[in-house]
Symmetry: C2
Subunit: 194 residues, 2 copies
Amino acid sequence: MARAGLTTERVVRAGAELADEAGFDAVTLSALARRFDVKVASLYSHLKNSQELRTRIALLALEEMADRAAAALAGRSGRDALAALGDVYRDYAHQHPGRYAAAQLRLDPETAAASAGRRHSEMARAVLRGYDLAEPDRTHAVRLLGSVFSGYVGLELGGGFAHSAPDSAQSWTRILDSLDALLRNWPATEERSP
Amino acid sequence: MARAGLTTERVVRAGAELADEAGFDAVTLSALARRFDVKVASLYSHLKNSQELRTRIALLALEEMADRAAAALAGRSGRDALAALGDVYRDYAHQHPGRYAAAQLRLDPETAAASAGRRHSEMARAVLRGYDLAEPDRTHAVRLLGSVFSGYVGLELGGGFAHSAPDSAQSWTRILDSLDALLRNWPATEERSP
DNA sequence: ACATTTGCCTAAAGGCTATAGGCAACCTAG
DNA sequence: CTAGGTTGCCTATAGCCTTTAGGCAAATGT
């Protein structure tokens, strides 16, 4: 009987494709076995269980996004860098919704530590080098950027802005503008409304 | 044989409790049937299918959050109102993580239209009455608030800020400060870095 | 060529969803 | 208070997904 030539790598990659085509929830070992025309049990030679498949897709997505982000940030600073980083996440989510959904999985601490997660926060910090922020505000700002990017993309993908004016792309641009303005003019502690 | 006294209402409420205790993914008709000491098939008299259960938990969460938000906004404006609204979402997510997760479900358009979703955007708009924003910037700002709130809470719940300084609560406060400052000083279109 | 490893198989069990059909508990009328 | 109808929960069944155990054959290397 001819062998299918499965490897963990190939299975994970097919899982990522399936996620983008049919949604992350449709990523099952059964569906993947059908795709490779193989019996389900065979996949267990390459993956511990279905959880490992999901986790590996998440790690793949995090790596891919980090690679894109690193490329996008090269040679940019200030608002350009900010927009480039935001666009990386937003574009990736539109192009690979299933992978992006995978990347939102909660990873256990050691897996997270070994993931590209660190690279992502390093890149947000790199963007902030173009602004004048000292610790701990720099960290607060990193968290703000992460929140806005993941929040906006999540709502947009969830259809939150779908059927109302103005266009989501316009809000995105304006929000990047406003974040740029905020970072250039970061409030000192205790500055509040009168 | 004594009857269990099931109703759609009670089943959904139990589902919400189960979600908070065991995670939204653990909300299955099987688990709920065990909780009521009833056979699974019996639940189908009260729910069309398991999707309806999940959707109803999401709608319940959206209502509860909207009710809390309405109460929190009464008599507040400016930064107070902004922080009150943000705290509603953040506190609710900490107190009811399963329900909050349910509220992130993508609802089909008609269900979404009948949900408390509209109330939420109305309340964000109400907060913005304390700031000087005209359309379309008001809508952009509503979307920004939604993004920051849902993004921050999502990352925090996902453990993103768990094991690093500074404390997540401090970042939250500073981020509310910075949003307040941004809204008070919303950039005119085309204002960008030199 | 033979022995070993490896890849994919069959078989089987357990869990969740879903549908169909039945009986008994409850409600309502007369 | 009992006859009838309705409703609530039941059993039975089937399909799909995950996971483990154990077996045969294809690939590998000596």
